[in-house]
């Protein structure tokens, strides 16, 4: 391993600008003559309106325009779309309601934009926004997914009777029935997977600039996938032809899924820029983020697991209602279906699995992928069932897991996925050792002596990453392919630019992608730069989400590097006057095999461009190659997280006293960065389990709509984490990478809740397990009486 190659904990190249305040986030960019946008948003969860009176606002100082949904429609700006078609059990297509970028006649959630004010300054735009009058006729609202389908619930969209978007299923309904009939024991759970707000610390922002001379539009945007944004805004919204729209995602301050999607504000900024003939900037305030960034999770599930007399799992069935909010966000339909039910096998050999999912509209902010996206929900179902099953059967929870682990690969689950490689016993074993599992009873005794309750919880999770083989996702309804592209540009001096369709917003691609190139070409990491996030520079790409940048994005770079090496060998063969087949490339030198004749990387690069050693008829000058890589399978990172908690029975306060994570991510490029990804994922998973909750009241008002009400994990809420890895190489891509971005968020909630329920002796606990929730659970259980005694 070289100091900057694969496997080295290389310090990040991107950090210099971030630690010195020289990053370029969207709001840091100012365009000459830029105006500012302020959105007037519905204060009601559900309301009809006929009139949006703008005259008074338009007359305010500095105001350039006040634009409404009616004008948007008149200008034939198209609706936002959901790009993944799901069909119901009866074969009917999902009920996708129209989603205009500005509401026109009806607002469907608090925060739904109804008008935009464009003014010289933001303060002027805000002042004028207060003068926009809307004649709302307030309608009854529904926010709770469990109530959305009930008779008498308010109807949100005419296209979707009973607010039902689809009723989907996966698995064999008859076979699951038989499996349950043969069971010796059935474990049953009702689960609420709480709604979360992603809350990247950089709020979403957009700057749109129209060039009337060329007709080109440029959009600087806080997006995880600029090319898909351009495609949707061009092809579906119809804002401008694709070749006349440039989308730039500069430094982006976290995404976690919420910046994958195409949002109304960027569409309106583009439209407004063309209308007023000036660049238009919009930056969300945090309150707006809460009311407009796609939320995550929000499932209500009944799940059952059937066991035989030896604790072997015979079947799993689940019925889930998934809240998709007021409109179908870009990839919303896929999250509670193919990103959820396909993972319900967990790490276990389960003969039969059946899952039904009803997706519903409610008068809430749209719900879409948030770190893990479907897989945390699936893991929570599986790992809670397994844990509770073990407790009910009196089998030690680690042992019950071991008995059911998949042990040979490839393994075909009953829910589509073919696991390609893994060693679940290895990660469990290592985690149990690090967590000192065998001495837990001693520690519990010690806690009891101090009047505290102590619990330990496991989560042996699996996820499907490396998203994804294009044909496979196409057959499941995806509107796009999920390959990735790369271009390797070698300069005459031998330095290298890597252009990638992936996008980094904290993952450190500028470092890890350079490590790959450094290892392969034998050149210093300083001589490599990574270019991403600009549709004028990178031809096309599918962006970053689903832990796909390593497994898919870096594989595309490998493919392009293969071509670079082949071409460079041709150049070297002319320079060294040897047969191409005799050229060996190693450690940055091209050598004629069996001789001492060689040429350095830099010389070959220069010769590729000066082209003096070969004729243009023999070989094209230059050294630049591109590649598209389409994966052959999903990848399957898996591992074991163990959470240990101590609870004060008098207050219900939970303290996490130990966290062990042993993950199998396949080959690791940079262990420092991988550990950081795991830390961050765990923090978000712990946030879901203990702290975070997007609470809507019955009127559809978001009660926890700011950082004062929505509990973001602080430093003092979290412990230090023990993070280790085991490695089974992924056979489905050239580097053997599985992906690491989401594991923590997927594994953590079940580990926390398994630990708390272990401590308090009752399973009746919903997330977030706040101090009052835990205290109440203790009071209602025998454990509470014991503690009180």
């Amino acid at each position: 391993m070289s100091a900057t190659g694969i496997g080295a904990p290389v310090r990040r190249k991107e950090d210099q600008r971030f630690i010195t305040g020289k990053g370029h986030y969207t709001d840091d960019i100012s365009r000459p003559g830029q105006a500012h946008a302020y959105f007037v948003r519905s204060p009601h969860a559900h309301a009809r309106f006929k009139q949006v009176e703008t005259a008074e606002a338009a007359a305010m100082p500095g105001v350039l325009a006040v634009l409404t949904g009616a004008e948007l429609a008149a200008d034939k700006i198209g609706n936002l779309i959901c790009g993944w078609m799901i069909h119901s059990k009866d074969g009917s297509p999902m009920k996708m309601a129209a989603h205009p970028a500005l509401a026109n006649g009806k607002a469907c959630h608090v925060g739904d934009p109804v008008a935009v004010v464009i003014a010289d300054t933001l303060a002027q735009a805000k002042d004028a926004g207060e003068k926009v009058k809307v004649d709302y006729e307030v309608l009854p609202a529904v926010a709770d997914p469990a109530k959305a389908q009930a008779g008498g619930a308010p109807q949100i969209h005419d296209i979707a009777p009973n607010n039902t978007i689809y009723q989907w299923s996966l698995g064999d309904a008859k076979a699951i029935e038989a499996a349950f009939q043969s069971a010796k024991h059935v474990t049953k759970l009702d689960i609420v997977n709480n709604r979360l707000v992603p809350n990247a610390i950089e709020p979403r922002a957009a700057i749109a600039e129209y060039d009337s001379g060329t007709g080109h539009l440029t959009l600087w945007n806080t997006t995880q996938n600029p090319h898909v944004a351009r495609l949707v805004i061009a092809a579906f919204v119809g804002m401008a032809p694709e070749h006349q729209l440039r989308v730039i995602a500069p430094d982006v301050g976290g995404g976690f899924g919420s910046k994958i999607f195409i949002y109304p504000e960027e569409v309106v900024a583009l439209w407004a820029s063309r209308r007023v003939g000036r660049p238009v900037k919009w930056v969300a305030e945090r309150g707006e983020s809460f009311l407009s960034d796609a939320h995550g999770r929000d499932h209500v599930t009944h799940a059952e697991m059937a066991f035989d007399g030896d604790g072997k799992i015979l079947g799993l069935r689940a019925k889930t209602v998934a809240n998709l909010g007021a409109y179908m966000s870009t990839f919303s339909s896929s999250v509670p279906t193919y990103l959820y039910a396909t993972l319900l096998s967990g790490q276990y050999a389960i003969p039969q699995i059946y899952c039904e999912v009803d997706a519903v509209y409610t008068n809430t902010v749209p719900v879409d992928a948030y770190r893990g996206a479907g897989r945390p929900e699936a893991t929570f179902v599986v790992e809670r069932l397994v844990e509770v099953g073990a407790r009910e059967l009196g089998i030690e929870p680690a042992e019950l897991r071991r008995r059911n682990f998949i042990k040979s690969f490839p393994h075909q689950t009953p829910v589509i996925m073919t696991y390609d490689a893994g060693d679940y016993d290895a990660s469990l074993k290592k985690a149990l050792e690090i967590a000192d599992y065998k001495n837990f009873a001693k520690r519990k005794k010690e806690s009891t002596r101090h009047g505290k309750l102590r619990g330990i919880g496991l989560s042996t999770y699996i996820e499907a990453c490396g998203i994804a083989p294009s044909q496979a996702v196409g057959s499941l309804g995806a509107g796009v392919g999920l390959w990735e592209s790369a271009e390797v540009r070698v300069n005459p001096t031998g330095s290298v630019e890597i252009l990638t369709g992936c996008h980094a917003h904290g993952q450190g691609h500028e470092t890890t992608f350079a490590q790959l190139v450094s290892e392969r070409l034998g050149i210093p990491i300083e001589n490599i730069s990574v270019v991403h996030g600009d549709t004028d520079k990178v031809q096309f790409g599918m962006g970053t989400y689903g832990s796909r940048s390593g497994a898919v994005g870096m594989s595309a770079i490998v493919k392009a590097l293969d071509k670079i090496e082949a071409k460079a060998k041709k150049v070297a063969s002319h320079m060294l006057e040897a047969a191409e087949g005799d050229i060996v490339f190693k450690d940055g030198r091209f050598t004629v095999a069996g001789t001492d004749k060689s040429a350095a990387w830099g010389d070959v690069s220069l010769n590729a461009y000066i082209a003096h050693k070969f004729s243009g008829q023999e070989l094209e000058p230059g050294l630049k190659e591109g590649a598209f890589y389409d994966p052959t399978n999903f990848t399957f990172p898996a591992g074991c997280h163990i959470c240990e908690v101590e609870i004060d029975p008098d207050t219900g306060t939970t303290q996490i006293v130990g966290w062990t994570a042993v993950d199998d991510f396949g080959v690791v490029i940079n262990p420092m960065i991988v550990e950081g990804q795991v830390h961050g994922g765990i923090a978000q998973g712990v946030g879901q389990a203990l702290l975070e909750n997007a609470v809507y009241n019955s009127d559809g008002q978001l009660v926890s709509g700011s950082f004062m009400d929505y509990t973001m994990p602080r430093a003092n809420d979290l412990p230090n984490f023990s993070v280790e890895t085991t490695v089974t190489k992924c056979p489905s891509n050239p580097l053997g990478i599985k992906g690491c971005g989401e594991a923590g968020a997927i594994a953590a909630p079940a580990a926390v809740i398994n630990a708390i329920t272990d401590a308090i002796g009752t399973e009746h606990l919903i997330m977030p397990a706040t101090a009052p929730a835990v205290w109440n659970a203790i009071q209602k259980s025998n454990g509470g009486h014991k503690a009180a005694a």
């Binding site: 305040g21 430094d251 994990p713």
Partner: protein
Amino acid sequence: MPTVSMTVNGKPVTADVDTRTLLVQYLRENLRLTGTHVGCDTSQCGACVVHVDGQAIKSCTIFALQAEGANVLTIEGLATDSKLHPMQEAFRENHGLQCGFCTPGMIMAAIDIVRRKGTNLEERTIREELEGNICRCTGYHNIVKSIAAGARAMGGGA
């Protein structure tokens, strides 16, 4: 519009500002010092922390006019002669940042923790003192490590 004068990163600056201009807006928009960030609207996140007369302050909570005559230090003024401040170096060395958005506020807050609590910081102290700074990426593990290391380095230790 009233006039405000202050010293920012060692340079005297004077400008006419709208009375409602927040210090963070003045820094970002008037002076184009965009390293100081805005991550919320309720003074919770700490992305906007700068030093005013040597003390950490959330620059979204005071008006520019309140900083009249003050000595303001932002993230851009921390490195001297292109040499990084030990706390900046510690964040890089310990992977104390991912997306980088909360980082300037974290670093400015961290230096203030050292000023108040000394260079030998316990993990618990650091975690408690970070109450006013939110990070969504790192899970704080490496931020805590960075601050402990940065504090030691500020005290002359390795």
